[in-house]
Amino acid sequence: MTKITNNIFDSIEAALKAENLRQKAIASNIANLETPRYRSIDVKFEDMLDKAMQQADIDGTGDVEAELYQPSMTEVKENGNDVNLEVEIGKMVENTLRHKAYVRILNKKYQQMELAAKI
C-alpha cells in the first residue's frame, strides 16, 4: 500500500511497484505459455491511481495498491490456457518503456535537488 500525496515521489514509487508487479505477471504468463488450464493474470493500477489521486485532492492523501486480476474476455485455447505470446510481448515492451520513463523522471528529480544543494 502506498500513500499518495501531492508529492511526485509517492506517485513514482507507486508506479514503479506496479510496473515491477506487472513484469512478474508477464513472466509468469510467458512461463506458463503451454500449461494446461492456466489463466493469464494482469495488473490493474492506472484506474486505482486515478482514484487515489482524486482522493488526495480532497483529503490530502490517498492509498493506492496495484492489484492482480484475471482478464475474463480472453480467448481460451483447447487446453484451457488463455496466454497469448504476442500480447505478453506487447505488454512487456510497454512496461519496459514506462519503467524507463519513471526511473528517468526520478533521476531528474534527484538531479534538481543536487543542483539546489550546490548553490
Binding site: 506487447g90 523522471i105 531528474k108
Partner: protein, 134 residues
Amino acid sequence: MEINNSYSPIDIAMSGLRAQDKNMKVISSNIANMRTTDNGKGEPYRRIEAKMRAANEGISCVEVDELAEDMSSFKEILDPGHPDAGPNGYVQMPNVNLPMELINMNTAKKLYQANAAVMKRYQQMSETTLELLR
C-alpha cells in the same frame, strides 16, 4: 484526470501479430488436410480462410472476424481403390490449392515481420524521447 485508453501503436502492432498468428494456423490446417477425404460429415475437408476486419472506425486494431469456409467445388480424382470412392470410381478431394496456400503463408510471414518491425521502431522512437529525460 481522464485515462486515455485509445490504442497505442504497440497495441495495434500486437493485434496485427495476433491476426497473422491465427492466419498461420488456418494455413497450416489447410496444408495438413490437403488430402483429407473425410471430415466426419461425409465430405472432404473444406478449405478455410481467415477473414480480417478492422475493430472500429478510424485508427483501429485488426481482428480475425470469422474463419470462413471456401465454398468452391471439390476436386475429383479417379481412384477406384480408395475407400471413399463413389460408385463411378471418383474420389472427392479437398478444395485446397497448395501454391495458393504457400503464397498466403509467405504473405502472412511478411505481415508478421512488418508488425514486429513497427513495434520495434516505435520502441526505438520512445527511447529517443526518453533520452531527452536524461
